[in-house]
Symmetry: C2
Subunit: 506 residues, 2 copies
């Protein structure tokens, strides 16, 4: 069987790594496609030097050129849409429709094109011209960016095609991409499109580098290497914290999007007005894609009273009845079942599910747990551990004032939802809750589920630690996401002809 | 003798700390004024809780209110200008004129008023309204900010009155300020003005907290405490790295402005055209204020040739002839002399100075050192250690191409200067040098010394590590400096009446 090539120094070549791996179809448990290499340091050393060499050439290029590349790439991807979607489906078991073909692939193209537009306009760079002092500044490229993609979005967050990739390139930076080993074939197909695009728009062939996997300690060594200027990562908290620590120590920008349980606070009016509809909405959001979203609603805080008890039954029935879908990898399944076990051992009541599912090769039962507010608050560190997948923990309260206390006890989150009506009782609770919750989350929603992260300039897909590493940055939402991979450059008394174009008066 | 009070929980009160210290006049070696307490954890615990309590009240306030406070404060300071300047002169020996009265005090007022203006306009918050998706976002306050000021700017970078203070307040955050123990009396006078201002504009009396000193381990404990949302620090690399590590681990924003040697690259045309004038300019910049500026030119890279040798003599004579001024503290003096010793032991040639000065109580001789490019490049870590004070290291080259290599070997810097003419030879060297140097510095200057950091919206007083902790942020330059102390908040499907004013359509 063939071992796939890595893309280093502008060529597809045999990896120096000696280990290989194969992807699995989570729906069947069968292996999919070629062997892929686990890169070693020799591969990474090539990638680092080649990216640094390329950066010397491309760092002065205008935004137009990077826009051309991103647009050419989007078109190349479109040409091979069917093949890419099919491969992603084989490697992830995410459904072609409505997910991969209808949502994630178009989103990926839209992100690339939106980044291209931003690179072309140059507004993301926020040029400031102070004529009186003859001082000018703008954000400019920072150097090679190492982008490490997650398991759960094979296209839209892939290291070779996702939001971090698009942002890093739009800012003018060469990229070293690490595929997630759960979908190497999908990544390779897209990288082929990208390599074609480099040629089509006369970019240096070594503007990107691609590896499929590398040992964690060698990945961290690369992050510490002076040839890496910044790092983008989406994935687990454990890996993210290690990556952030390595980059922090080296004093370089690092953007890690890690864990989030995305609390949903339910005020009394909602249960009184539309208990069933809300149960449907919550169940749909929580179980969609087997719950494998960064913004999956993993914690629901209910108001006191009988309505809450009834709602729990509604949701329990829906969870039990809903079809169980495959999880992305055996690792995801094991981690989910471990997390559920921890919650139960900590005192949460298992309402439904909790075990491996029998129907599908790699799946867990839809799982609903419950705990009361006193218990939650007594050990909030335990109860707010993320259980990534089709699972949620309900917190029952005996007094609405417990809601703000629960919000206060939470770590940083990507999102926080409040379901409420315009009734005075709900508004009064909201006024207590919102100032606390707002500081804990990157995005505050009213009467809307957190899944579904619109590609909008107003989006914040970020939040306080440990949702991410810094609450001032967003991974989705152009142009803000582009500025992450840039540095502020100031020109003091530099004459017109030596200034970047955006800072000239003419 | 009286021990001064700390300002905690809205009152001037006796510190719980048992140790005290006094300031010294560096010009005479004599102690100045009262005893000041070294705070202990009990003080800090009060500060943390009080700041967190106040934040619950003020976090929803509009920018106008913070603008009112900053403006009232500037006026209060103006009322006591003479007293403040005199005290600062006693504690730092920085000259009243042209420094404290004529430059630093007006700058401090200008910064406070400019921050007020930004808080009032609200543009710093970059509100984005996406009506189609009903998603909105803006930067908003983040919570209590711990501001730790440096020794070298008793007014304009003081924790209670400087750029970080103004930015943190303009963003809407309560501040816990730590004075630098070299100028506690100056800090107290300004804090008195601030406390008056709080009353004048109906702010909670506990919106600010002031301590004069605290043991490093307790300062770090405060930084890790969840009630601190962000940290601003200006000072030594050693302290800055420890502060950054503590904040990074806790996942909170930290802005440290640390060390910088501010390289000056001199291209052949400048020496050919105006060797004497440039020697005057460099000497003035390097020795002003005994060289105690973050942007002091501590490294000068000369072109090959006879002109360079002559220029070195010109500068050596000027350094030897120039009056020696006092350094801020005995610690600064010892550190400077140690740094000079290290450079000499590493192989640098001592051209003039190098020892404690006899004329003034706390001073070092104006010191000029030289090393050739080969030696510099062979041990660039050693030769780029900051020697904070009236000292500079000259690097001689045998080939102009060594300049880019030297730039490449440098750590991150606040500034980088190039002196050159429009002659083709200079332009050609610049084209090699600039792309490398630009990535190493926050501010690139042409034919201008780095000292003097204009208060301009285009200013970048920042730069890559270890000049600061992140090359995307600036400590001077409103509104960018304000955004450091904020978080990005996004509102998704939140109705008009629950939105912050800046995000409403009406």
């Amino acid at each position: 069987m063939t071992t796939a090539s890595v893309y280093l120094s502008g060529e597809w070549k045999t990896s120096s790594g000696t280990k290989t791996f194969q992807a699995h179809n989570p729906a069947t448990g069968e292996t999919v496609g070629d062997q892929y290499p686990v890169s070693n340091w020799a591969d990474m050393e090539q990638a680092l030097q080649s990216a640094a060499d390329c950066d010397l050439i491309t760092r002065d290029w205008a935004g137009d050129r990077f826009a051309d590349l991103l647009e050419a790439y989007a078109s190349q991807l479109e040409n091979r849409a069917e093949e890419i979607v099919e491969q992603a489906n084989l490697e992830t078991a995410l459904p072609v429709s409505p997910r991969l073909k209808d949502a994630e692939f178009p989103r990926t193209l839209a992100q690339l094109r939106s980044a291209a537009q931003a690179a072309r306009s140059g507004e993301w760079a926020m040029p400031v011209i102070d004529d009186a002092n003859n001082i000018r500044s703008m954000y400019r490229s920072i150097g090679p960016v190492f982008v490490i993609g997650p398991n759960n979005f094979p296209l839209a967050f892939n290291g070779i095609s996702g939001g971090d990739f698009a942002a890093a390139v739009a800012a003018g930076n060469p990229v070293i991409a690490k595929a997630h080993p759960a979908h190497p074939g999908t990544t390779r197909l897209m990288a082929e499109c990208l390599v074609n695009s480099l040629m089509a728009v006369n970019f240096p062939a070594n503007f990107i580098q691609l590896i499929y996997d590398i040992a964690p300690e060698e990945g961290l060594k690369a992050i510490r290497d002076s040839r890496i200027a910044a790092v983008g990562f989406t994935g687990s908290q454990k890996a993210g914290v290690a990556i952030k620590a390595a980059a922090d120590k080296a004093g370089k920008p690092v953007y890690v999007e890690m864990s989030s349980i995305n609390p949903v606070f339910v005020l009394p009016g909602t249960l009184a007005e539309k208990s069933e509809a809300f149960a449907d909405e919550f169940t749909g959001s929580c179980l969609m894609g087997s719950g494998q979203f960064c913004t999956n609603p993993g914690l629901v805080i209910l108001p006191p009273g009988e309505e809450a008890k009834k709602w729990i039954e509604l949701v329990r029935d829906r969870f039990a009845a809903a079809k169980t879908g495959p999880l992305l990898t055996e690792g995801v399944k094991d981690s989910l079942l471990d997390s559920i076990r921890n919650l139960v051992e900590g005192g949460a009541e298992l309402l439904t599910g909790g075990h491996a599912a029998k129907e599908v090769s790699c799946a867990a039962q839809n799982t609903l747990l419950a705990v009361d507010a006193e218990k939650f608050l007594a050990d909030s560190d335990l109860f707010q551990q993320e259980a990534f997948g089709n699972c949620s923990l309900i917190v029952t309260t005996s007094d609405a004032s417990q809601m703000a206390a629960i919000a206060q006890s939470l770590e940083g989150q990507l999102t926080g939802c409040v379901y409420l009506t315009d009734q005075p009782e709900d508004e009064a609770i909201y006024q207590q809750l919102e100032p606390v919750l707002r500081r804990r989350v990157g995005r505050l929603l009213n009467n809307k589920m957190p899944t579904g992260v619109a590609v909008s300039p107003a989006m914040n897909h970020g939040g306080p630690f440990p949702a991410t590493g810094h609450p001032g940055f967003t991974a989705v939402g152009i142009p803000a996401s582009i500025r992450r991979f840039s540095m502020l450059e100031c020109y003091d008394n530099v004459p017109e002809h030596r200034l970047p174009e955006a800072l000239r008066n003419a």
